[in-house]
């Protein structure tokens, strides 16, 4: 049984219908924006609210909606009815797969060479480190969301656990980064299991909300447990990483002095770049290897159908817990790296927006595709940088992009959800068996 077509909106034809649609849209926009845009309120210095009108902005916005709906309507008529998933012609598809085969190695080689090419451009190096951090977070979350199909809206909690583990251990006990890194991963994985236990029975949206609540709880505890975490002031003075014990500064023991080369502050940036690259590649490698192990297969089976999974004798409890723990561990690694790179952490870095950003990267990347996640991280963080000057509009654009991408391609840019194992003989299955939306 296919879902009935209950989309009653008939395509408007002809100029009058077009104008009518545009007028209706403009009228709706006028009502929506009338008070929120047309009137601006502000609290004065004496606490008294004042307001002034902004009819110019209101008029231009309504005009924009009017023009925009005409353009969209025209485009829709030219291109014809578009489904949510467009079919790609076979020629393009084979071309894409050719590109796809060589894109990943080419990208990797380019990434390896980034510090060489952009050695003198500090800004690009910093940006590259940021992108790689999000690539790693995306790959980590991909284990939970993309492979095991468990929607996790609180991934930032594990990132925070990792960051605070390193920050507190390093500032209180003076432990080095390379000892704390595995510890941060283990602690985050521990929290992952701790979160995993209660939510095992939950499915779908409930799971999402509980993970969200968990992320908020961690953040609120960090803010309020001032004696340990410093509260909103955060932890500062976190030591920079060392080259396996040799500091990267211009002291006599520094790496530059030992190698007999001139000291430059870029050395540390380049070092950090390769550290995060190695961590990200580790995440990727572990994920790819795990996918071929029984546990990875079990994750994918769990994603496709939990009930069938249980019927086949897969222990869903351990499967879910390992997915949570693995994802959380990588989040913890990334957190420890974040702490050492920034030298300062505060609860503000671990808000729900971060979780949503990482989730958006995973979903945009096609949920399960490693390459897709990397490209999506590049696009997202790069896009964020473009809007750096417009700080307040940044999240607005981000939200709009999220909605539009979901409407345009709900499956992500690279829709790669094929299971790793196939049956060799294809079998025709009736469409309602493969229809999604259950669970």
């Amino acid at each position: 049984m296919t879902a009935p077509s209950i989309n009653t909106a008939k395509p408007a034809t002809g100029i009058p219908a077009l104008l009518k649609t545009a007028f209706i849209n403009a009228a709706i926009a006028l009502v929506l924006f009338s008070l929120m845009i047309g009137i601006r309120t502000e609290a004065g210095s004496d606490g008294q609210l004042t307001y002034w009108t902004r009819f110019g902005e209101l008029a231009s916005l309504v005009a924009a909606v009017f023009g925009g709906s005409i353009v969209i309507e025209l485009l829709r008529q030219w291109i014809g009815p578009t489904g949510t998933e467009k079919l790609v012609p076979p020629a393009v598809q084979s071309g894409l797969s050719f590109v796809g085969r060589y894109l990943a190695p080419a990208l990797l080689i380019f990434t390896l060479l980034v510090p060489v090419i952009f050695y003198n451009q500090r800004y690009i190096l910093d940006l590259a480190i940021l992108v790689l951090t999000y690539v790693m977070l995306g790959w980590g979350l991909n284990v939970v969301v993309g492979l095991a199909g468990l929607l996790d809206l609180g991934y930032v909690a594990f990132y925070a656990v990792g960051a605070y583990s390193y920050g507190l251990l390093a500032t209180n006990f003076g432990w080095s980064f390379w000892i704390c890194l595995p510890l941060a991963g283990i602690l985050a994985a521990f929290w992952g299991v701790l979160l995993g236990f209660p939510v095992l029975r939950l499915r779908g949206d409930y799971l999402a909300i509980v993970t969200l609540a968990f992320g908020e709880i961690i953040r609120l505890v960090i803010i309020n447990w001032q004696s340990l975490t410093g509260g909103p002031n955060g932890v500062s003075g976190i030591p920079r990483p060392t080259f396996f014990g040799i500091p990267l500064d211009n002291s006599d023991d520094g790496l530059a002095a030992k190698l007999g080369i001139e000291y430059s502050s870029t050395h540390r940036i380049v070092f950090l770049f390769y550290v995060i690259l190695a961590l990200a590649l580790l995440t990727n490698w572990v994920t790819i290897r795990l996918r071929r192990l029984p546990i990875g297969r079990a994750w994918e089976a769990l994603r496709e159908d939990e009930v069938a999974c249980r019927a086949l004798g897969i222990n869903t409890t351990t499967t879910k817990l390992t997915a949570f723990a693995t994802g959380a561990m990588f989040g913890g690694f990334a957190g420890a790296f974040f702490a050492t790179r920034q030298g300062f952490i505060s609860p503000e870095s671990f808000t729900f927006q971060e979780s949503a950003l990482v989730l958006a990267i995973v979903v945009l990347g096609g949920m399960g595709s490693q390459l897709g996640v990397a490209l999506a991280a590049l696009a997202m963080i790069g896009g964020f940088e473009l809007f750096r000057g417009l700080e307040t509009y940044r999240m607005l654009v981000f939200g709009m992009a999220m909605v539009l991408i979901m409407i345009w391609r709900p499956r992500g840019l690279i829709g790669h959800r094929a299971p790793t194992v196939y049956l060799t003989k294809a079998q025709a299955i009736s469409s309602d068996l493969v229809k999604e939306g259950h669970g």
Partner: protein, 305 residues
Amino acid sequence: MDYFAQQFINGLVLGSIYGLIAIGYTMVYGIVGMINFAHGDVFMIGGFIALITFLILVSLGLTAIPVILLVVLLVSMAITALYGWTIERIAYRPLRHSFRLAPMLSAIGMSFVLTNYSQVAQGARVKPIPPFITGGYTLHESTDGFVIQLSNIQIMVVITTIVLLAIFTWLVSRTRLGRDMRACEQDQTMAALLGVDVDRTISMTFVIGAALAAVAGLMYLLYYGLVDFFMGFVAGIKAFTAAVLGGIGSLPGAMLGGLAIGLIETFWSAYFSVEYKDVAAFSILIVVLIFMPTGLLGRPEVEKV
């Protein structure tokens, strides 16, 4: 005991506000099966529209408080309802038959859009209004001087909530629209075959939910005397917690859950610590979902293969 009674009153008022928001979550979840993540922000928008309407009416020279309140209520309900309709039309309807995560993510995106839209449009600073409805009653004065107060605003919030709930229950159980809504909740395909306009019914669900959220926004504005662009997030999660606690999909459950969350939060602040009141509310969400996944009044979900 007096302290307890006072906190009980405060908790009931807060719970009424949560309950009004929770109805929006529970209705949408019941019919479309998605968590309308942007609903908390619709509540925030409702608060802002109420504030702006207030300002305009006061500056126009109106002084009759009941008239002002009525106009503000109607305007904010109408405009916020249109917001609810538009959000459904833009962000959710194209994704109705898409895979499960898509509407949820679209809703998260919409939530960001609304939060930042009001930040851009109205600025990031908190907007206070002077106390508008003053006065109240002293219910009881104990010998050590502790007074149990029942303010007029508190009475108004509770009465408005009760009246709205009565109207709403009548709407769902007695009218054509309510019947359509219940039919869509059970089986959209069958409802469509029997001549129910599913699109329109779902739109109306969002409209009603948004209108109730607008009332909650107005109540919040009157009770706390301020709105800001970020208030939707936490209030939204708590109201969702309330909906889950009451059993998602159940309308009396949403109200009951709202009251429970309001009371728990108030008592937690009063007797334990104010800082951890949100932690308490979120922990309850987790505990409820572990031990009573169907909530207080929810029906057990049948697992279909």
